[in-house]
Symmetry: C2
Subunit: 487 residues, 2 copies
């Protein structure tokens, strides 16, 4: 045997460059540092820190914060995990507060999946896909089919799947809103495909601007990009916007004209505080009714998730996407691609089912379900408004009214000296601000540069999930001190 090589096979210089290029600030250095603070405080250390708790306002993780899971969902889940409990119906009902519809639902789901410990079909259990289709029919007033539903591992894996299918070569491009949830740019980096950015209109409640989209599209085409799709996040992440019917129709018409796919990320569809949610599927079917034949070629993929809304079950990794107008041969490749990873978590699939088919009025669990659902919605709305009011007190901070999703994305204007200091430290100015905020207050938010923003503007994204108002006070106080320091 020859002398062994002292080299590592893998170094930062020879691994996949496209993975290296990918950026995902939501769980980046700031988040890692906040976890270190949390661990320190958890061990009773950290007396040197100027705060006594870490507030994770960087990520939409409701149950890590205040949000309680919905009782019906978790009661069903407990029976799915231990089906022998179903044999003790009297104990469940008389001693443990389960209602009969919980038991019925668990029995039905177990019939559909056999065991939550068994692989399902790669596309998801057929009965659950049918249930999703019925939900879409009720929501939109147009037919849907379980054959077109693909259950997924959160919406993120759905996005990953669709981008994998569409991006055929380095010239493949996807129109992505800026600011955006960085899953899109990160996945495009990994795929070595092009992000074609189009800017949202902050001054118009972060709506889409068709002119901006067209300009981006035309520029990309000129540069030789093969534009395959447009991504829309509605309600918006990180912007907190809720799109108007006009904006949605304009995007659909544009995509139909250019012959590109519409990818509608609708995971915040129940988090709407202003106006109403209109699904891209409904808007498309409306257009097809108004002008028969004109939109039939259009391909739409719309995504939903159990992670957000009043469900907040991110840890269970459930979601789905619906394919509308896709060539069956392309859909078959989608199926094959997801089959390589076998199937999405089966319990997550079951939680998708209870999300889309919750207790109905008159059913035993309905009253509590409604109370919990409305309570979460009301709390989110109240906190969004409280945070919005707090931002109003902050000099140089401007924020659009809370309209949807779980985020506010205020503009911040920072003093020149702060911007210079950031440059010295090798950071973006808003990133510098966010690190200072974390170090001073324990509040973790994400810098606007992690989502993309118009040049010369600075933002940060914060969730409004954390309970109480103490932490908003911490931000207001920090901001004043920060301005004083760098004025």
């Amino acid at each position: 045997m020859t002398v062994s090589s002292p080299r590592k096979a893998l170094t930062i210089d020879n691994i996949n460059p496209h993975v290296k290029e990918a950026q995902y600030a939501v769980r980046g250095e700031l988040a890692v540092r906040s976890e270190e603070y949390r661990a320190k405080l958890g061990k009773g250390e950290g007396k040197d820190l100027p705060f006594d708790s870490v507030i994770s306002a960087n990520i939409g993780n409701p149950q890590q914060l205040d949000q309680k899971p919905i009782t019906f969902f978790r009661q069903v889940a407990s029976l799915l995990e231990n089906p022998t409990l179903i044999e003790h119906e009297d104990v469940l009902i008389n001693s443990l507060g389960y209602k009969s519809d919980v038991i019925e639902r668990a029995k039905w789901l177990l019939k559909e999946v056999k065991s939550v410990g068994a692989y399902s079909q790669s596309q998801g259990a057929p009965g659950i896909r049918e249930s999703v289709a019925k939900f879409i029919e009720r929501r939109d007033g147009y037919p849907a089919s379980g054959k077109d539903i693909y259950l997924s591992n959160g919406a993120s894996s759905g996005v990953n799947t669709l981008l994998h299918i569409m991006c055929a070569k380095p010239e493949s491009g996807i129109l992505v809103p800026i600011p955006q949830y960085p899953l899109y740019t990160a996945t495009l980096s990994v795929l070595d495909a092009r992000c074609v950015p189009y800017y949202l209109e902050e001054s118009q409640a972060w709506g889409t601007n068709l002119k901006a989209i067209e300009e981006s599209y035309n520029k990309a085409i000129e540069e030789g990009t093969d534009v395959k799709a447009i991504v829309i996040i509605n309600p918006g992440n990180p912007t907190g916007a809720s799109l108007s019917a006009e904006d949605i129709r304009a995007v659909l018409k544009f995509a139909a004209e250019k012959g590109i796919v519409v990818m509608a990320d609708e995971v915040y569809q129940t988090n709407v505080f202003l106006g109403e949610f209109i699904s891209f599927k409904k808007a498309l079917r409306d257009l097809q009714k108004e002008e028969p034949g004109k939109y039939d070629h259009l391909e739409l993929a719309s995504l939903h998730s159990i992670s957000k809304g009043m469900v907040g079950e991110c840890g269970h990794r459930g979601g789905y996407f619906e394919l509308v107008g896709f060539d069956p041969k392309v859909a078959a490749e989608v199926y094959k691609f997801i089959s390589i990873q076998l199937c999405p978590p089966v319990l997550g699939q079951c939680i998708v089912e209870v999300m889309v088919n919750p207790p109905k009025e008159g059913e035993p669990s309905y009253e509590l379900y409604k109370k919990e659902y409305d309570g979460i919605f009301g709390d989110l709305k109240a906190r969004a408004n409280a945070l919005f009011e707090a931002f109003k007190q902050m000099e140089g901070v401007e924020c659009q009214s809370p309209a949807g999703s779980m985020y506010l994305f205020p503009t911040i204007t920072l003093p020149k000296k702060a911007i210079e200091q950031a440059k010295k430290e090798g950071r973006q100015p808003d990133e510098f601000y966010c690190f200072r905020l974390l170090d001073a207050t324990g509040v973790c938010v994400v810098a606007g540069s992690g989502f993309g923003q118009k040049e010369g503007t600075l933002h940060f994204r914060t969730t409004f999930l954390a309970p109480g108002t103490d932490w908003t006070g911490r931000i207001v106080k920090f901001h004043k001190e920060f301005l004083d320091e760098f004025r």
Copy 2:
């Protein structure tokens, strides 16, 4: 607005060619047809079919067949899903058969994850990773650290992550055993990287042959391939082999000499019927002790899963991989890559924890746990041997003794006429045989061509998970009739 384009944006000819190239027979056309038969029979139709049940012997999916989940695991899971049950300790213990250690474990896990509905750290909950590290220490007798453990979405997502990191360009190559579990070749196709096949030795119980590995490696280097790693599946899938200590040491020495990563797929580590399981980690540490300094540069990634073994919780999508000897900068890229998909299912993480840290002797749940565990192991071994005996009766079928994993992978010799008929139908001969078997008996297996095999040889892979012996009889009877038809 111009007239809309009648073209679809996505066609089979313009989507990602690397996705199209990927093949994953385990869930391919045969599996799809078997599901159609199952659905037909489920609806009370299918009186025209020559069988009354479908036997899914194509995929290692224990709980879809006979295997019952382990009570301790599922009792804990039920409390994680509905933590309010913990307030009813008396009911749980006196009326529902829960033991105190179930409740203690659920409380501890809830402290670690806060809620199974909350995202965890992307690498997995720290306390669970520590628990995995302690398991590895007990198993191997060498230290391990939670910092090096990455919880995953089944082992499959771990493989996907590692291949994404290692494959930097189209010339990047990975040594993959043939026959192999097609996750490897499919993922390499998607990544547009090279599979460097090395053949296993059927005549030597499907062991590794260092000479064959060296020849493949040298040929790849000559062809300009940048070989980054060698994959070992031990116990073997689809082969059912269990590697000897000598084979394992030879692979480690080879990898150290060539400066390539060892990727040890050890998901069947408890499914060993002949000899004993030796982890690559232990073998590496042994070598390092014997010859200090000589193997310190070697990088090893070893994977485990809750899907197999006596756990069989595939639907929960849990697993982990341990990185040994990786450059911290490379590990940081692994972390970033997985963070884009947020985190593995948290309940799956919790089931990893109970798998690696089951009830100990003397604890209240131990006796039942041991009985269930041993029962499953005994049943698997008995069925493996019964199937092996059945194959002995079949003309032209030869099979290695069952040694490990959940599969047998017999060689089949088919009559010339059958091979000609297969060609006429545009199928591989073993695929043709497997379709005929499914159509005649309802038994679904996977053709050897789906895993790769030496040219001129034919095989099929069958699990030995399905209960009863009726279905092995169906195979024996079909095989005789098939030979008679084409003789």
